[in-house]
């Protein structure tokens, strides 16, 4: 069943709009940051999984872990590269995270 389906796809060609469109003006916790965390982090970093004893389900927890999140999602040396289930966050998501941190990590 599986062997009839061989494709030569790449994400750049398959998702062209997503790669070009990055909203860097309306970056909010509820509208931007939480969806990123929910998609890529909360699978492990929420009760009951609590990967690495780090929780990211509430605003306060995210603010408390913000420096480590920055290092991990940028996969800087000295930090655990995250998400560990493969790949790296899209550069747009990392840019939006930086903007949110620079704007004072507001709970908006």
């Amino acid at each position: 069943m599986f062997f009839v389906s061989c494709y030569y796809d790449n994400e750049e060609a398959l998702y062209p709009v997503l790669n070009n469109l990055c909203d860097t003006t309306n970056v909010t916790y509820s509208g931007t940051i939480f969806p990123i965390l929910n998609n890529s982090c909360l699978g492990c970093h929420s009760v009951p999984a609590t990967g690495g004893s780090i929780l990211l389900s509430t605003y306060a927890e995210v603010v408390g872990s913000a420096p480590r999140i920055t290092g991990s999602i940028k996969q800087l040396p000295g930090f655990f590269a995250m998400p560990k289930n493969g790949g790296k966050l899209k550069s747009c998501s990392i840019t939006q995270w930086d903007i949110w941190v620079r704007n004072g990590m507001q709970n908006n």
Partner: protein, 300 residues
């Protein structure tokens, strides 16, 4: 009554002795014409990460639990990587003496995998001389990690990757075995145009017996595709470690620069470098259960 039963018993014993003589004769006569298949080229069905020439015997179930921890260079605060582990669970079964199948689940990318290993040639001496054992492995990996965005071009096929391997192994002496593994990996979806959908690699593995229960194993895969200019720099996976056999279990303890335990991941997605110290401690535990007694003991 007692005499009768005694006579009967004596008769049985005599018969038994005669039968044994007959069997010994048959064994002695047939020895020169027998094919002596080489056994235990490797201890386990894996060299370290990758498949070895060994298969499960008919009716035997192998329950495998594998861990790869984080890198040694992640520091003492993270207990040199042991704080975080990547787990692979596997159930593998010998259907016939030439075919085994297996299914597994890896934490990385929430991947399910299935494989089949076919025996093609067996190393033997005696009536049939065969210098090497040859097997073929095909496997499929299904990534079940959620797509990051809802999108009409999120195809199911994007989740699949296929692997085909030929295993050529030779037990050179009682304590030393080698294996070459030409491998092909196809990924339906890769990150960028620069990443290859097809990967060609040549694996090499070896086993050196140190004692009756312990052996030193090494495994290396040379990837023929360019490894730079990709969305992520990848490296050739190298693993070195020990097989330790205890009663009923085989423990494989090793150091590797790969965090994936299945072919698609350690051939295509090894981002760690030995030179930089991205070395993962890892282990496989294998426990074999006999579900069906096999009639012939000649298979290995």
């Amino acid at each position: 009554m007692r005499r009768l039963s005694l006579t009967f018993l004596l008769a049985l014993i005599t018969l038994g002795i005669f039968a044994q003589d007959d069997l010994m004769n048959i064994v002695n006569q047939s020895t020169p014409n027998e094919i002596n298949y080489t056994t235990a080229t490797f201890k386990s069905t894996r060299v370290m990460n990758g498949h070895s020439i060994e298969r499960m015997q008919t009716g035997q179930l192998d329950v495998r639990i594998s861990h790869r921890f984080e890198t040694l260079n992640s520091g003492g605060y993270n207990f040199f990587g042991l704080d975080i582990s990547y787990i692979h669970l596997g159930l593998e079964y010998g259907i016939t003496n030439w075919l085994m199948i297996g299914v597994g689940r890896t934490e990385i990318d929430k991947t399910f995998d299935g494989f089949a290993k076919f025996s093609i040639l067996r190393q033997s001496t005696g009536a049939k001389e065969m210098p090497v054992s040859v097997s073929a492995v095909t496997s499929v990996a299904l990534k079940t990690l959620k797509f990051p965005d809802q999108n009409p071009t999120n195809y199911f096929t994007s989740r699949l990757a296929y692997v085909a391997q030929i295993l050529v192994a030779r037990k050179i002496s009682e304590g030393f075995s080698v294996q070459l593994t030409p491998s092909y990996v196809h990924r339906n979806l890769v990150a960028t145009e620069l990443d290859p959908n097809d990967i060609f690699a040549l694996g090499a593995g070896a086993r050196l017996k140190l004692s009756k229960r312990v052996s030193l194993n090494g495994e290396y895969y040379y990837i023929a595709n360019p490894k730079t200019y990709l969305s992520q720099q990848v490296y050739n996976p190298l693993s070195v470690g020990f097989d330790i056999e205890t009663g009923g279990h085989v423990f494989q303890l090793f150091f590797t620069n790969s965090r994936g335990a299945i072919e698609k991941q350690f051939i295509g997605e090894t981002t760690g470098s030995w030179k930089k110290g991205d070395i993962h401690f890892g282990f496989n535990i294998s426990r074999v259960f006999t579900l069906k007694k096999h009639l012939k003991s000649s298979n290995y």
